[in-house]
Symmetry: C2
Subunit: 294 residues, 2 copies
């Protein structure tokens, strides 16, 4: 078996950063024979061909997934239900489907609806390797190296299907973890989705001011880091926010309550509370960075 | 004159990142003869000696400033009034005082009170080169290279005094700008102080949760960048927040209103508003980064 790729045909919906890097990772590991791409824009698909991400542009989704080993949905999560509806009737018996969506409960709910008795063939996943750059040109074979990928397996998944998806991500160099979908969504609402919303809000609020140039002129490295994620893909993040609405609203409300507390402290000149808050945050941030080696 | 340093004696209050890097920058440019340091902790002063930041530890502040060419207050802004009170009676006629505080209106108000008829000798300044690291060990001669320094000169400042402070910062490699103190404070409340407060708030809110480890475990690069400034110095940022309270409260309230708008949009599933907001932010952030080459 040595030398023979683990996967024959891989079908990718969405050949941007996430899907493209997955294809390139498997190709670099020589673990896929053929990659077929679908996407909304022909120019992106052509670019993905030129970059060696895909070998062919798919024409008929049903036909392509029928004999595929692996199908990855790597589009914004808002587009996944429509893709599921298109491919569900044609899935081959051996085909395993996975996704790269940043939210899981909503994707699982759609999958439950569209895949029905084939639900066991869908193993939900979330690679934690976003970047503010998007598109096929940003894809790279080593994007997932030493990054976390969270699988949120379903009770319906045969162990073998989970193992195949795990294996694919491990060939890309990722560290694979498992979480229940609801835990996944709660955690990422707090550590990813909320920070994105907060960063977008800050830059927007400055950008719509008449004299915004004066502000941007003096923005420095703190602003640069805080707002790096405000350069993220608007449609993708719209979908993530909507898809993870309950958890994100909950996190946003906790955060607003925290801001209210700090505002009150500032208003009444309570330096002790500010310093205590900052000190707890600093220690936690440093511990986190030390643990991550970041 | 070639080869002769522009400044004889420099006296620094606070030999940490800001003051230490200023001293090292002037020394690297061979533009200062002697640097005398004051500070709250003897161990920090000893460290500053060992690192070549200062040549002597000062004992009597009044005596040291009497024949100093330049005095830099590089402590948290909350400590500056007390330093001004200590040195004001003893300032030599040729001595120019400046500071490295991140807020200016409050420092100017203190200076007006303490320096009274010597106010012209105080030229307020703010080097835009903070880092989350602090302390003498973090100081470096090139910290200010190509960084902005904002002077907020007073009507009382003779042109020559402003020129001397400008020159010192230029020897450190900085680009020197001038702003009225109130404009300075408004701008930095928006692009620096508010982001710090927001970043501290996010990390604090997670850190005090019982199950915070689970959250931190899955935090990735977006979180890392958004929270880098939450590792900043708690006392320094307490002082900055309090010192710039009116402008910071104003910016915080604008921001909270913006968050309320986004929360309402999320609640009512208004994806169009979210996407529009994210899109404006993304474009502004990208334009800013392109302009800065960052």
């Amino acid at each position: 078996m040595s030398g023979s790729p683990e996967f024959g045909k891989l079908v990718i919906f969405g050949v941007g950063l996430i899907g493209g890097s997955f294809a390139l990772g498997l190709k670099a590991a020589e673990q896929v024979e053929e990659v077929v791409g679908f996407g909304r824009s022909l120019s992106t698909l052509t670019q993905a061909m030129d970059l060696g991400i895909i070998d062919r542009v798919g024409a008929n989704a049903g036909q392509e997934v029928a004999d595929a080993d692996l199908v990855l949905m790597a589009t914004p999560v808002g587009q996944m239900p429509e893709i599921m509806a298109r491919i569900a009737p044609y899935l081959g018996a051996q085909t395993v489907v996975t996704d790269g969506g940043s939210t899981k409960a909503d994707v699982v709910a759609s999958a439950r609806e569209h895949f029905s008795d084939k639900l066991g063939q869908f193993v939900p996943a979330h690679p934690i390797a976003g970047a503010e750059n998007s598109g096929a040109a940003a894809a790279r074979a080593d994007l997932y190296r030493d990054k976390k990928v969270v699988l949120t397996p379903l009770p319906e998944n045969p162990v073998l299907n989970v193992a195949r998806v795990r294996s694919a991500w491990e060939w890309c160099g990722a560290q694979v973890h498992e979480l229940p979908p609801a835990d996944h969504d709660r955690i990422f609402a707090a550590v990813s989705h909320l920070p994105h919303l907060l960063s977008f809000a800050l830059v927007y609020e400055l950008a719509v001011r008449e004299n915004c140039d004066q502000f941007f002129d003096f923005a420095a490295s703190g602003f640069r880091d805080f707002t790096r994620i405000a350069a993220s893909h608007p449609e993708m993040w719209r979908d993530i926010c909507l898809a993870n609405r309950p958890a994100l609203l909950d996190e946003l409300d906790r955060y607003r309550a925290q801001l209210d507390t700090l505002r009150d402290a500032l208003q009444r000149d309570d330096g002790a509370l500010l310093e205590r808050t900052f000190d707890v945050a600093r220690k936690a941030r440093r511990n986190w960075a030390d643990g991550k080696g970041k």
